[in-house]
């Protein structure tokens, strides 16, 4: 087990470096110098040069070979490439162009708002989907099962934006059950995240229930379930004690796949409900061409995914010891 944990930890290193390589290629090689863009249309050459220097665009892309031949290694590796890695790994992403604040500081300020939406949304989706799919597994093959599956397919066909806009219009605007937009930190946040959370859960339910149902039905066909029924155990006991426990293994392994969708959900929901979290931060950065923020969010997002994947794999190895021998 210890060997597996170490191996799995080491495996995250090339992935994190790979992500930085991708963002470097994307932002520095494909995207290129944005200082003229940042300075605005009527900026003087000096202003542009200053922004260039501030953002490090005046440095050589990979390495300063001239300095290297003179033996000045420090100057030689002071390049965009090296800086990109060093900056990200030390979480110094530079300043946001819009707020003028250090990106990392702003990320820390905004994280609680995002979490207050994402965590209940994530747990809610998980528990409700599992509950519904267990119920469906119980009534499998009946008209109820068919109806639920059909509703799921319809549910996953609707675009997320429609859930948000119609939900906002009917539940908040027309019926007045929830505040339309806004946020306040602390416990007061509950009032404001309730509706976005609900809509996020609703939009994710379709695909989750459908997938979990397949997992549950696979388990229902297994020999040990037949044995459990044969020895006279009640349906509830079989479902909760046997099926659910075994179905959790594939379910846990797909939970991490929900992270990208969580991101999408937070992105759109935060923007609509004006929740000052990371999602709205990212969207605003994209529309206002705030390079430092987009770069930082891409890296942080990937880091979260890698961490999630690591946690899943370790849980998986705990539940199923065969994994660590592979």
């Amino acid at each position: 087990m210890a060997a597996y944990v170490i191996r799995r930890l080491l495996y995250t290193i090339p992935i994190v470096l790979g992500v930085l390589l991708v963002t470097f290629v994307l932002f520095n090689l494909v995207g290129g110098d944005v200082s003229a863009d940042l300075a605005g249309k009527s900026a003087s050459a000096e202003t542009i040069a200053e922004i260039k220097r501030e953002l490090g665009w005046d440095k050589p892309v990979f390495a300063d070979l001239g300095a290297l031949s003179k033996g000045d290694v420090r100057k030689a590796i002071d390049s965009q490439f090296v800086n990109h890695f060093v900056k990200a790994l030390t979480f110094r992403f530079g300043r946001s162009r819009v707020s003028g604040q250090e990106v990392w500081t702003e990320l820390k300020q905004r994280a609680p708002a995002s979490l207050s939406l994402a965590v209940p949304m994530f747990l809610g989706t998980l528990f409700i989907s599992i509950a519904i799919s267990l119920g469906v597994a119980f009534v499998r093959g009946t008209w109820l099962d068919v109806t639920v599956v059909f509703v799921c397919v319809v549910g996953m066909s609707l675009p997320m934006l429609s859930y948000i806009l119609f939900g906002m219009y009917f539940l908040a605007y027309k019926l007045g059950w929830f505040p339309v937009v806004g946020y306040e930190p602390g416990l007061g946040a509950f009032k404001y995240v309730a509706l976005p959370c609900l809509l996020g859960i609703a939009s994710g339910l379709g695909s989750n229930v459908r997938f979990y149902r397949t997992v549950m039905l696979d388990e229902m066909r297994a020999d040990y379930v037949r044995t459990a029924f044969a020895k006279g155990l009640g349906v509830t006991r079989v479902l909760f004690r046997h099926v659910l426990k075994n179905a959790m293994v594939p379910i846990i392994s797909t939970v991490v796949l929900a992270i990208p969708f969580l991101f999408l959900g937070s992105l759109l929901l935060e923007r609509f409900f004006m929740i000052p979290g990371l999602g709205s931060f990212t969207v605003d950065a994209v529309t206002s061409r705030d390079y430092a923020v987009v770069n930082a969010m891409t890296f942080i997002g990937a880091l979260l995914y890698v961490a999630g994947q690591l946690a899943t794999d370790l849980c998986y190895a705990l539940v199923d010891p065969r994994i660590s021998f592979e």
């Binding site: 790979g18 994307l26 806009l165 999408l264 994209v286 529309t287």
Partner: protein, 304 residues
């Protein structure tokens, strides 16, 4: 179960191929045929829009602004008095083009990479696995946004990148991972099969074995995977256009929803409803057809 076994037996006797057999299974299911009809209808609409037969005059005002749906105004009008119905039809072209080109891009990248990784294994496999694990680690929507962010205003082979081109490049370049994984996994199984051994014994080159023997045998996975993934491409286009990074100067469902955001609070529900129905209908049809296709071609394949 016995019925299925019997069916397979007759198929073998008649020498029916995998595709013919799949088609026979699909044809028996009414709902699937209806959904296939819907998909074809969308394709026809997209072609007719390209040909300029319908919705070519979407920019023309057909009445006053914000007219509700009626006999005279069809699906109603928007802020410029343009017909919501025409804009929706035009959106079919935009959406299907984006999804189709994005699929082509991701197949072109994903299938060869997956086949090479699965067939050669070793170092090259490690490299490709590392590459797709890396790309997969970046949450999809962030990667698309980042791509759309940097591609806008750039040129590719001298062509300026804007509007739709940005969207399908961003989606295509970020979504080859799924198919690459699937193909790799399948090719690993196929490389040990007898037909590959036979081809090798015949003295076929490795390139020939991959292109002429292995890929045709795993290609049905591409079809299954993309009939389902098409839906997420359509939804991605909506989101990217909605965020103002995508399609410009022509109507798209995402842009319509963006406009509807303000309209809805004033009670003008029709543009939002039209876009929602258009998206939901094609998504639903593709989901049903994709599921049926998977069941018919490869019942073992559950995810993808």
């Amino acid at each position: 179960m016995t019925g299925m076994a019997a069916a397979t037996e007759t198929d073998v006797r008649k020498g029916r191929g995998m595709w013919a057999d799949a088609w026979r299974q699909l044809r028996r299911r009414k709902l699937v045929m209806v959904c296939l009809g819907i998909v074809l209808l969308y394709v026809v609409v997209a072609i007719l829009v390209y040909a300029g037969v319908i919705a070519g005059d979407w920019s023309k005002a057909v009445g006053d602004r914000y007219q509700p749906p009626s006999k005279q105004h069809g699906f109603g009008t928007d802020i410029f008095g343009q017909s919501v119905w025409r804009k929706t039809l035009y959106g079919v072209k935009v959406s299907l083009t984006v999804a189709f080109v994005a699929s082509l891009i991701s197949i072109t990248i994903g299938v060869p990479l997956g086949a090479i990784a699965g067939y050669f294994r070793g170092r090259i496999d490690d490299l490709i696995v590392w590459l797709f694990s890396t790309v997969q680690s970046i949450p999809w929507i962030l990667l698309i946004l980042a791509f759309a962010f940097v591609l806008r205003g750039k040129t590719l082979f001298g062509l300026p990148l804007r509007g739709m081109a940005v969207v399908y490049l961003a989606i295509g370049l970020t979504s080859w991972v799924g198919i690459c994984r699937i193909i790799r996994g399948e090719v690993i199984k196929h490389r040990e099969r007898d037909y590959v051994m036979a081809a090798r014994a015949y003295g076929c080159s490795r390139g020939r074995i991959i292109i002429h023997h292995v890929i045709p045998n795993v290609f049905h996975l591409v079809l299954i995977s993309f009939s389902l993934r098409f839906v997420s491409f359509i939804h991605a286009e909506v989101i990217v256009s909605f965020l103002g990074l995508g399609v410009e100067n022509e109507p798209s469902w995402g842009a319509m929803i963006d406009e509807a955001r303000i309209e809805l609070s004033r009670g003008f529900w029709w543009q939002m409803t039209a876009a929602t129905i258009a998206i939901a209908l094609i998504s639903l049809a593709l989901n049903v057809v994709g599921d049926a296709l998977r069941d018919a071609l490869d019942p073992k394949l559950r995810e993808a």
